[in-house]
Point group: C2
Chain length 115, copies 2
Amino acid sequence: MNIENAQIQMRKGILEFCILHIISRGEVYATNMLEELTAAHMMVVEGTLYPILTRLKNAGLVEYKWVESPSGPPRKYYSLTPTGFESLDKLRETWHELATSTNQIINHTQLTGQS
Amino acid sequence: MNIENAQIQMRKGILEFCILHIISRGEVYATNMLEELTAAHMMVVEGTLYPILTRLKNAGLVEYKWVESPSGPPRKYYSLTPTGFESLDKLRETWHELATSTNQIINHTQLTGQS
DNA sequence: CCTAGTACCTTGTATAACAGAGTACCTTCT
DNA sequence: AGAAGGTACTCTGTTATACAAGGTACTAGG
C-alpha cells in the first residue's frame, strides 16, 4: 500500500532525468525510450511518457522531427536542444548531491544504530 | 522553471525514505528531523513534514509518544514499528536498484556520447 | 497579565503520474 | 477497393503529494 507508493515516488523524481539522458544519446522516439526504460527496470507506461515529452518540449529542452517509419505511422524523433543539455547538467549535479545526501543519512544509521 | 521542478521532484521521492531512516536511528521529534534533513541539504518545511509523519503513522510504520519538554510544549517522539523496519528494508532495496539503474543510464550516455 | 518562543496541526492550491479510451496512419489479405 | 490488425501518438479524469500560509496550544519570563 503505502510502501509501493513510496517506491513509485522514488522513481517519479528520476524519470525526467533519465528520459533527458536517453534523448541526449541520440535521436529516439517514444517506443525506443520505453524499451530502454523498461530494460533499466523503470516501469513506465505510455500515459506517463507522452505527457513528459510534451512538457519537455514546451519547456524548450527537447525538439523533434517527424520521420517516416518503414512500417506504420510516422514517428517523432526527439533530440536535446542546447538548453536541454544545460538542464541535463544541472540535473546530473542534483542527482549526485542527492545520492550523496541520501547515502550520508543511510550510513549514519548503521553507525549509530549499533547500541 | 522546469528544471527546478524536476529537482524538487527528485527530492520528493526520497523524502519518506530519509525520514524513515532518521526515525530508525532512535527517538526523535519533528524539529530534530528538520534539522537533520536541512543538514543533509534536503530542503523540507514543516508543512511537508507533518503530513508525512501523519501518513506514516496511519500506515502503521511509525508510532509516537508524548514527552514533556524542558521548555515549551510537549513533543511527539517518533519511533519505527516492526512494520516500519520492514518497509525501510524494502525502500532501501528500491533505492539501490534505482541508483543502479540510473547510473547505468548515465554511464551509457558517456560511452556512446563520444563520437 | 502580556509577550515571545516552541511545537504541532490544517486548509487550499498546483503539479504530476497513471489508467484507459481514442485518433490516425500504414500494411496485408481478401 | 474494403476490412482487419498493428504501430504511434494524444487526451481526459482521478488520485496523491509537496508546499505556502495561517492557526492553535503550551511554557517561561517580564
